[in-house]
Symmetry: C2
Subunit: 218 residues, 2 copies
């Protein structure tokens, strides 16, 4: 796009350099493997074979395996952030009311999840949570911070909702915020285990029903 001239980053989305491409390819392969075999069950040899590089090539991009774990998680969390940003933005454009905006967001989220061709691939945070002793303190902390970020994000919404719609039941808003993470992670487990991609969006929609009932009463 716009090859107008000199040293401008074209269109804000920089095209990835060759090295970045390879790095992304490794991360893609690693993510897939880790979500199906766990981190320890994913060997470097398998990754380099699939990526079409050599061991030396791998260590050019990552100092060691733990750095791969870290990069994997960082990328995953960033992608989630982006997704939520985008969905909230779309939802807010459709409705100004905080409650209805949130309900729309949840519908958009469910739709997005339902449209994933092979179902949700799995949540890195959940995967890492069941292998925490494999990782450095840094990675574990990153994992926890990811969940806390989701809580803060949803909690902020719920605060604005509760200010306008006094809850029909006695409910801790942090817990209600956490419940979306829980239902999503649980829904992913259901979908993956039973090999039914519909279960995850279905659970999100159930959470939506709960929110609606709790604040709107119907």
């Amino acid at each position: 796009m716009s090859s107008n001239g000199v040293s401008n980053p074209p269109m804000r989305i920089r095209t990835l350099s060759k090295g970045e491409q390879t790095r992304e390819r490794i991360l893609d392969l690693a993510q897939d493997a880790v979500l199906h075999k766990g981190f320890a069950g994913t060997s470097l040899d398998e990754l380099i074979a699939a990526a079409g590089i050599t061991k030396s090539g791998f260590f050019y991009h990552f100092r060691d395996k733990n750095e791969l774990a870290k990069a994997l998680l960082e990328r995953y969390l960033a992608q989630e952030e982006e997704l939520f940003d985008a969905l909230f933005k779309r939802a807010d454009e459709l409705n100004e009311d905080p409650l209805h905006g949130f309900l729309i967001f949840l519908k958009l989220l469910a739709d997005t999840l339902a449209d994933l061709p092979n179902g949700h691939p799995g949540c890195m945070v959940a995967s890492y949570c069941y292998q925490d002793h494999l990782f450095s303190q840094e990675v574990r902390a990153l994992n926890a911070r990811g969940i806390m970020a989701w809580r803060a994000r949803f909690r902020a919404r719920l605060d604005r909702i509760a200010a306008l719609y006094p809850p029909r039941i006695d409910v801790d808003l942090d817990a209600l915020a956490d419940m979306l993470s829980a239902v999503a992670d649980g829904g992913i487990i259901l979908s993956k285990s039973l090999r039914d991609p519909r279960l995850l969006p279905q659970q999100v929609m159930l959470y939506r029903s709960f929110v609606r009932l709790a604040f709107l009463g119907n």
Copy 2:
């Protein structure tokens, strides 16, 4: 019961033979390790060292590592069954109404989870779900059957409830049954990742609020 005579198993709870004790010890250690490091990350060497046996001793009890995985999951599912049986029994003794019986059950479940000294150790089904490519088809099927059993169990309750209390919202009872599994698995992930044992029972209680709202309206 009744040690009236001869070849009765004393007290119904047979005391474990030495071999069974060792086997249980291995399974205990393995479960703990697997829930913290994943299956591939759990080495046999580490298990036999902790159990105080040799490698050969291990293979006397399990043909190979996959058999350990199977035994681990089978035992876990059986223990869950037992727990649910016990809690439903207690709940039903306290109230005959299906809805209130279920609500009591959920409270008992939350209390039980809250009383676990170090929080819930983790769900084997969730752990295995994120490492399915490590296991035989048999183990994967067992995992799926476990979730299906929970669904069937809760669904049966919800059917009886819905017959008496027409739901205030349009809700798929299978999905609502699944939601308990989802919220529990998600709650475990929250509790483990954030190192806060209260989060899991809290999520169960939120699910309880939802059920109450959906069928009772308050």
